[in-house]
Amino acid sequence: MSPDLTQVFWPFSAAAILLFVMGTYYVLVTFNLIRALIGVEILIKGATLLIILAGYVTGNTGLTQALVITLIVIEVVIMVVAGGVILCVYRNNKSIDVRELRSLKG
């Protein structure tokens, strides 16, 4: 691997890992469903960065861009559906607190 790639590789992969940490923390700690969804988004951003990085270091950006475009489409659809679910939760509970969503247990 060329020194140039080395310099690219670790800051970007470290950034992706930090994004994962932040996203996970956000999802785990928040009590707000929308915030949890935003945390999930941050997680997906990390994955996007990692995929593009993989394409860059192997010089195969054609493939990884195609993957990322598909990924983004799916991401949007998941967010729309999750948003719809949150909306329905709000209509049902008049609240979007995670603590309201603990009736199924045991």
């Binding site: 970007f12 890992i17 988004e41 990085l53 195969n60 861009q65 598909t70 719809g84």
Partner: protein, 161 residues
């Protein structure tokens, strides 16, 4: 390479702001900002098409979805917001510590792949990959978009009671 480094730091700061900010709406915009910075990064990493998509869809469309959902669901009163802001700091300052800790840990040993990277000598164009080689992914996109349409039809419709 310095620009790359600055951009990475900016990305992390934007994400951190997204997580730590008190107002939900700001959090959504923070996400948009993160996406925008990421789009620039993608552009710097030789991926212009992906960057365009990231910018238009993730920085443009997804915040719209979030803002719509936020405005359809709830708006905190000013008092509740003040209280929430105080609580928040107690909950979120750990994240700063964790991020710094993980950052230090990561900087101690450079993350490097321990396999010889299979560098492609004749890079293929993204359009060729998409339209000539990965038809099945396109089919998947069509299907998932259709599913999303049904999702919108079913979930966003108000239930008549």
């Amino acid at each position: 390479m310095a620009i790359n480094f600055i951009l990475v730091v900016a990305l992390l700061l934007a994400a951190l702001w997204t997580v730590m900010t008190a107002r939900l709406i700001r959090s959504a915009f923070g996400l948009a900002l993160t996406s925008a910075v990421l789009a620039i990064l993608l552009f710097r990493l030789d991926s212009p098409m992906a960057a365009v998509f990231e910018l238009s869809v993730c920085a443009g469309l997804i915040p719209v979805i979030f803002v719509t959902t936020i405005s359809l669901t709830h708006r905190l009163s000013q008092d509740a917001f003040q209280i929430r802001q105080k609580e928040r700091w107690g909950k979120y300052w750990y994240l700063l510590v964790i991020v710094v800790l993980v950052g230090v840990l990561l900087s101690r040993r450079a993350l490097l792949p321990d396999v010889p990277l299979p560098v492609v000598t004749h890079p293929t164009d993204v359009r060729i990959v998409m339209w000539n080689m990965h038809h099945v992914d396109l089919l998947g996109q069509v299907a998932v978009i259709l599913a999303g349409v049904f999702g919108v039809v079913i979930l966003f419709k108000e239930v008549k009671k």
